[in-house]
Symmetry: D2
Subunit: 360 residues, 4 copies
C-alpha cells in the first residue's frame, strides 16, 4: 500500500503542496556507503526547475535541496535520506479568481469530489511541483546505480514530439539534448519548435508532447514476474507523472501492426557477445531486462490551465466559464523529461536491489 | 512487494505452469456475504479459453474452475478463495525440439538468464496460460462490484485493431462483441478480419492487436494520489499481461497532438447532472475517477512462437535457427480481451474498497 | 497489505478451512535452483500433524503434501510453489450442537461479528488447521536456508512449560526433544507431564504452554530498522499463531528486573572470534542479528474448546451454556512447536534475502 | 516492504538522527477533514520529551513540532502530513571517547557490522530520539480516532513495574498517571520508586520497566486474519520500540498457567449488552477486537549506556573497556509510555480504516 510512496526496496515518499512552506522527499532503502553530495543532486534539480526559459513556467524557484538526514561524513548510512525544498515564489493570489471553479481537464474537480476539501493555491498537492521531489530521489538513484553498476549505466530522456511537431529520433544526440530548452534530440527541429511553442502560448493555448527515455548499460535479469515486471513497474511509474496519458515500451502501440517476423528481435552470437538484430522489445522480455537498451516513451497531454475561456461548473454545480491566468507551462511535457529520467533511475535501482534478494 | 500477487486490498496470487498438473489462484480480501457460484465464474473462463475457434490456439482446455475455500453455503466468507484449474491437454513433447533454443522475442531467454533454470514445457510460468487465473479472479471482482455498486457498473472489452486492420470504434456494439470470435465491436470488419488472420496463420506468421476496455458506471472518487493513481494501477495491470507493449488512457498517445482547448473536457451542469462535453481524459483526472466512462487501450505484440524460421542462439550461446511448431495463437491479442476486462474489474474493486479506507 | 500472506521477499499465502475439501499454501519468492523433495517437507509436517499420541487431537490426518507448481526436475524455479493438503477426517457433525453458540475465549465470536457469517465446521478459517500450511512453508524456508547459509543454521523449538509445570531449560537436549510427544527438552520432566496432561484431559479441561525457539548459526546483520526489525517481525510472526498471547526475545519480560550491568552482554575477542559473555539480548540488538544464538519464547493459552460447561450467549444474543465435545487438543501449545520453528525459519530466510537487497 | 514506515492504510515514515539537524515524520493516509492543530500534537510531544525531571535524560529538547504540509485552513486534506522537529541540544562531543567502541547491549555493534558505517553521534539513527516522531504520528491518530469513533475511545499507558519494584495495577488511576514523573498508576508506589531510581542512577547503573497500555472504547471487529491480526500488529509495533524485549496481550505469559476454564472469558447478555466475566483475552480474540478493553504490556530492558565500566571490543576487534558518560535515561522505560500509547493509537486507526475496506 502506498499513496505517496514509490518503490519496493528503494522507496521514496514525497510530501508538500505547491504553495505550502516547502515540499520534500524521504528516500528509504538506499544502500550505505555511497558518496552523495548536494551538488550532484542539484544538477538534476536544475534541469527540471521552472523559470529558466521563456518556454516554461515563469515561476522563479531555485529548487535548492537540503539534506536533513541519512548522510554522514559525505556518505549514505543506509538510513532514510530526508530532503527538503522550500517554496520561494508561490503566488496564491493568482488563484483567487478560480478558487471556486473547476478547470476542465484538471484534477481539482476529482480531488474536491473525493476529499471534500479544496486547496486551491496552485493546485495544492495535485500540482506538478511534487515532481521536483521525484527528481531529487532519482538523482540519488542514479548516483547509487553508477556506484553499484558502473558509469556505463546511463539514463537519457528527450522530447521527441512537441504538439503537432515530431523530430528525427534517429538523430538522437545526447549533447544536443543537454543544450536546448526543449530537450530536443535533433538539432534541426529546434528552430521550428521555438516558433511553434511561442505561437501556442501567444494564442492562450497549450500543447502536449511525447517523451522518450533510453537506459543503456542495464544488466540482464532485472525484473520480477508476474506482477512486478520491469515494464509493468515502468508503466506505473510514468503513468503516475502528472498529465501522462500513455506509456509505451519498445515498439509500443506500433507492435500491433508488426508481423511476427518483424517483431521478434533475432539473436546472434557475435564473437562471444549476444547481439539482437533489432529492439522492438525495448530491452524487456517477459518483464525482465534482456541487456539491450531499454527504450520507452510516454505522452503528456496539454496543460489544462489555459488562458482561453472554457465552459465549466463551480463548487456549487452552477454553470460558469473559466480563463486561467498565472504562470503555467505552455507545454508541461518539456519539464517531464528529467522527471521521466528520475522515475526510470528509481525503477532500475529498485529492481537491481530486488534482484539480489530474488536469486538468493 | 508482490511477485505473483496483484492488488492492494482485493488481492490475488496466481501460481502454476503451462504444463504442470494445474494452475490456480488465491483471491484474498474479497468482502464477505457475496453470492458466488462456479457458474458465474465459468462464463468468463469460457470467453478466454483456447480451442474454441480456428483463430486461437488449438489446445483443448475446458478450464473448469474448482473452488477449494472461502465460500460457505454459496457465499463468500471474507477468507481466501482458492481456485484450481487442472491442465488437461499439455503436450510437452512439442517443445522437445526447442528446449535448448531461445525463441526471439520470447521471455524464455530472460528467464533462463535470470534464474539459471529453464522449464521448457510450454513456456512454464511465462506462458499466457497464467492469465486464466486472472480471469477467474476478475470474475469474482465483477460479481462483487455488481453486488456493492449495482448492475450499472459494467466492464466491456473489444479488439479494435487486428494486425494491420482497424475497425470503426464508433460502431461499438456490445452484443456484437459477444458473438464473433475476435471480440470485434464492429460487425462490418469481421469478414475481412477472418480472411486476414487465416492468411497470417497460413503464412506461418502472427500478428498483433489493440484492445480497448470500457468501464461504465464507475463512481467518482476512486483512485489514490500520487503513486496509487487509478490510471497508474491500470497501466501496471495491463502491462503485466503477456505481450503487452503499450497502455493508453483516454486520448492516449493522441493527447500529445491535441490543443489545450481540445484536450480539456468541458464540464456542464445539465438539469442537475454533471456532464462532460468530451472524454479525452478517459474518465480519470489526477489519478481519480471522474464519473465518466473509463476508456483505456493496450497494444499486444504478435505471438513470438511462429513457424517461420528465425535466427537465434541456444543455451550454450551458439548460433542456430528456430521454427516453432505447436498450437500457438496466431494473434494472442484476441484472447487478451477477457484478460483485460478481468484486470480492469480487479483494479476497480480494489480501489472501490480502498476508497472506503481512505476517507475514513 | 497482507491478510493471509506472510513475509516480504520470501512470502507465503495460506488458504483453506478446517472442514473444507483442502487447505494449502502458495510460497512466493523462494530462490531458484534449490533441491526440494516432498519427503523433506513431509518430515516437518509429520511433527505437527494430529492423531499421533493420546496427548493431542485424535483427528486422523495424514497431512500429505502435494506440490502443484514451482518445482521442475527436483529444483525450485523461482516461481510460486503451490502446495495442497486434502482434509480427510473432518467431522462437521460434531459441531452441529454448538453452531449457534459462541465458545468463550474463541474467535468464533469476533469472526461472526466482523464478517456477519459463521462457518461453524471445525472453526472454519479460525481453526489451527491453517498452521499445517505454515509448517509446509517453513520446511521450504529451512531447506533454502541450509542451501544458502549451510547446515550450521539450525532452528529448534521445545515446550519449556506445560500448564503449571516447568522444566529445566538448561537440560536442553535436541535428541530428547525429537523423541517425546511433548517436545520437552528435559528428559526428567516427561513422566510428570504425562500424568498432568492426562489428568487435565480427564477433568474436561485444558492447559496452556510456553514454547521456546532457538536459532543457531544465524549470520550477523539480518534485520532492518526501524519497522522491519528482526525481533519485530518475529513478534508479529509468533503472535499470529492461534492462541499465542505473549512473545519474548532473550531475557524477555525478565529484562525489566535486570540491572544495566546484568543486562548488557559484554563482548570479548577470543582468539580472533567475537564472543558475548551472556545472551540477554537473545541474539538481536537494535532489530539486527548479532551472530549470537537467537532465543525467543511465546506463551500459548489453554484450548478454549473444553468439555466443562461454560456460560455464553448464542447468535441471537441469548444467554446459554456450552460444553464442547469433539477431538480437541488438551494443550494446543504442544503442536505449536513445529509451527514456531516454521515461522522462525520463514522470518530468517526472508531477512536473509532482504539483507542482500538492503546493502546493495 | 517498509524499513522506516509503519502501517497499512494510515502510514507514517520517520527519518532523522539523534544529532542531525532535525528529525521528522511523514504521515500518509490520514482521512481528510479532521481538525488538527499543533497544540493538540504538542501535548503528546511534551509527555515524551526529555529534560523534564531528574528521572529522565537531561538533554534539553523543546521538541516543537512544525507542520509543513497536509493541513489547509486547520483541516487535514487527505494528503501527506509532513512534520519536522529541529534538534537543539545535541552534544556530539560526549560521544568522542566511545566512537570506536561498542556499547554492550547496544545496537551500535550490529549497525556497524551490517552497514559498515558508524554514526557515533548520540547513536545516530538507533537513538530513541526517533520515537519523538512516533508520538507526533500517534497524536494525529488519536485525534482522528476521536473524530471518527468519538471521545469514548481512549488509550492510556502506565509504568507498572520499575526495575525490581512493581505496583498495584488494580489501583490504576488515570489522573495519577498524568501527574507523576513515572507514569505510575498507583499513588502509593511513587515515593519508593523515586528513591529506587535515584539510587540506580547514583550507582552508575540503569534499570528496566514494564509498561501497560489500555485502550477502551474500541469497536468490535477490528483486525484482519491471519497475518494482519490486531494482536500481531500490536506485537510488531511495540517490539519495534527501542529496548523492548517482550510483548503480552491480556493474560500474556500468564496464559500458560491458567486452566481452560479460567482462561475462557465467559460471555453474558446483561440487559441487552454483551458482557464478559473476565478479560484474559485482553480484548482480542482470533486477532479481532471483541469490544472489551484492549490490554497489553511490554518489557523494556535497562538502558545500555551506563557509567559503570563494562568489557567490550572496538571497531578493530580489540578488547577494551567502556564507561558511558553523557545524559542518558536511567530507565528508558519511563518515556516509553507515550510511545506505546502512540503506537497503539496508530495501530487502532490503521485497523479502523482497514476494516472499512475489508467488509465492502
Amino acid at each position: 500500500m502506498s499513496f505517496n510512496t514509490f518503490g519496493k526496496i528503494f522507496r521514496f515518499t514525497t510530501w508538500g503542496e505547491s504553495h505550502g512552506p516547502a515540499i520534500g522527499c524521504v528516500v528509504d532503502g538506499c544502500p550505505p556507503n555511497i558518496s552523495l553530495s548536494i551538488k550532484d543532486i542539484q544538477i538534476d534539480m536544475d534541469r527540471r526547475r521552472p523559470g529558466k526559459s521563456k518556454f516554461t513556467s515563469q515561476r522563479k524557484e531555485s529548487d535548492k535541496i537540503e539534506i536533513l538526514s541519512g548522510v554522514f561524513q559525505g556518505k549514505t548510512t543506509g538510513t532514510p535520506i530526508s530532503m527538503i525544498i522550500y517554496n520561494k515564489d508561490a503566488k496564491s493570489r493568482d488563484y483567487e479568481t478560480i478558487k471556486n471553479k473547476f478547470r476542465p481537464g484538471h484534477a481539482d474537480y476529482t480531488y474536491f469530489l473525493k476529499y471534500g476539501i479544496r486547496d486551491y493555491r496552485g493546485g495544492g498537492r495535485q500540482s506538478a511541483r511534487e515532481t521536483a521531489c521525484r527528481v531529487a530521489a532519482g538523482a540519488i538513484a542514479r548516483i547509487a546505480l553508477n556506484k553499484l553498476i558502473g558509469k556505463k549505466l546511463k539514463v537519457v530522456g528527450a522530447v521527441t514530439q512537441l504538439g503537432l511537431l515530431g523530430c528525427n529520433r534517429n538523430k538522437w544526440n545526447e549533447k544536443e539534448i543537454r543544450k536546448n530548452p526543449f530537450f530536443c534530440p535533433d538539432k534541426k527541429s529546434i528552430k521550428l519548435w521555438e516558433k511553434y511553442l511561442l505561437a501556442v502560448r501567444k494564442a492562450g493555448s497549450s500543447c502536449g508532447a511525447i517523451i522518450e527515455i533510453r537506459a543503456s548499460g542495464v544488466p540482464v535479469g532485472l525484473g520480477a514476474p508476474i506482477y512486478s515486471k520491469l515494464d509493468s513497474d515502468i508503466a506505473s511509474a510514468m503513468m503516475s507523472i502528472n498529465a501522462v496519458k500513455s506509456v509505451s515500451i519498445g515498439a509500443g502501440m506500433n507492435a500491433a501492426i508488426l508481423s511476427g517476423e518483424e517483431n521478434s528481435d533475432e539473436i546472434k552470437n557475435l564473437s562471444g557477445k549476444t547481439k539482437f538484430k533489432s529492439n522492438n522489445a525495448g530491452g524487456i522480455l517477459g518483464g525482465i531486462s534482456s541487456g539491450q537498451e531499454i527504450v520507452i516513451s510516454f505522452a503528456v497531454k496539454p496543460t489544462s490551465s489555459i488562458l482561453n475561456t472554457r465552459e465549466t461548473i463551480d463548487k456549487k454545480g452552477k454553470n460558469t466559464k473559466i480563463s486561467v491566468k498565472g504562470r503555467h507551462d505552455p507545454c508541461v511535457g518539456i519539464r517531464a523529461v528529467p522527471i521521466g529520467e528520475a522515475m526510470m533511475s528509481c525503477v532500475l535501482l529498485d529492481h537491481y536491489l530486488l534482484n539480489k534478494a530474488q536469486c538468493g
